[in-house]
Amino acid sequence: MDTQSYMPVPPGVGTEENFFSLDDILLSQERLPCRTEMAFPRLGFLEKSNDSQDIPEGTKMEMPLWLAKGLYERKRRVLAVELPKMYREGWRTVFSADPTVVDLHKMGPYYYGLGSQLLHFDSPENTEIAQTVLQTFIGRFRRTMDSSQNAYNEDTSALVERLDCLERALFRAGQSGLNGFQSWEKGRTSHLTASNLVINYRKRKIAEVQS
């Protein structure tokens, strides 16, 4: 098993984000369809479709999750957040029929993270969203586990292709357990090797020289 000295800040998963997590920052960059329920004076230049000085009330625009979360208020109507299509009823039915057939990478890739974050906006469908997100994870778990524990010494890109980010992280955790054990069994753990970081740096340097 290659020991990694660099351990990034893990994502928060669920309704709470981890402030320093790069994954969570990218997740909160996902765009949501919104409608303003108040005017935003002097910010008209952000909305290319109109040429007024302001963003008028009732404007439909896409906003990153972080901004929608910051502006949204339960008591005051500032912003209405619509559900992205894969969390709406139509797709929820598809997910509950057979969660394993869906390409969560294409649909997401932060399907679980974004689904959890959407619960911040008091949608009447919140319970169903939370339920579907959980059931999807459970329904796909066996597959994620089996593929991560059976694939040894092979190209795994096809296996992870349709996985959401969270599932990919799980897949990697499973793989590192498996690879660690296999290399121990083959007597390779007592073999000292060059640091991966050092090797990757060297590869990059060579690539830079060549280009």
Binding site: S5, M7, V9, F19, L26, W66, L71, V78, L192, A194
Partner: protein, 196 residues
């Protein structure tokens, strides 16, 4: 939209998931800070206007900009913090002397931080295990034997071992050396551990 530059910083680090340190993106950081300055100034003047002229309809806009300020702040903080995690890892992978190519990727404050980290780690290691201290960056895995067989992958010059003998590490030469003396050089790809 605001905060586009800030997310660029994050993407740049995220692409290098293995812990490599990209060059410190001073230019991008400067642009983010400029945007923050502009946002802050616009908000200052709008706050004054809202207060003095009672223009409460400006409040949503002020809040909008405020969110952007905080977002930029989060991205920069996360960028700097994640880089520190990477720089700390370098001490464990490369040892206390970093190759110039990597040092060029660090800003002055990061170099300073690395030196401080190096020092406190050294102080800590000296305090361990009695008089001589204990190098905790060695023997990351339980050693099987005190001596190991190694092959030189490149010319590395003279090398002194415990008893004072000096050996020449010449490309393709093979040696039987104390494991703890070689571990670092193996990690750096100078020596290769030869298994019987």
């Amino acid at each position: 939209m605001f905060c586009e530059k800030a997310i660029e910083l994050i993407r740049e680090l995220h692409r290098m998931g293995d812990g490599q340190l990209p060059a410190f993106n001073e230019d991008c950081i400067r642009q983010v800070l400029e945007e923050m300055k502009a946002l802050y100034e616009q908000n200052q003047s709008d706050v004054n206007e809202a207060k003095s002229e009672g223009r409460s309809e400006l409040i949503p806009t002020i809040k909008f900009r405020h969110c952007c300020l905080l977002r930029n702040q989060r991205c920069i903080a996360a960028y700097l913090y994640d880089r520190l995690l990477r720089i700390r890892a370098l001490r464990w992978e490369y040892g206390s002397v970093l190759p110039a190519t990597i040092r060029f990727h660090m800003c002055a404050e990061e170099l300073e931080w690395f030196n401080q980290y190096k020092k406190s780690l050294a102080t800590y290691m000296r305090s361990l295990g009695g008089e001589e201290g204990l190098d905790i960056t060695q023997d990351m895995k339980p050693p099987k034997s005190l001596y190991i067989e190694v092959r030189c992958l490149k010319d590395h010059g003279e090398f002194e071992i415990d008893d004072g003998t000096v050996i020449l590490l010449k490309k393709n030469s093979q040696h039987f050396l104390p494991r703890w003396k070689c571990e670092q050089l193996i990690r750096l790809g100078v020596l290769e551990h030869v298994m019987s």
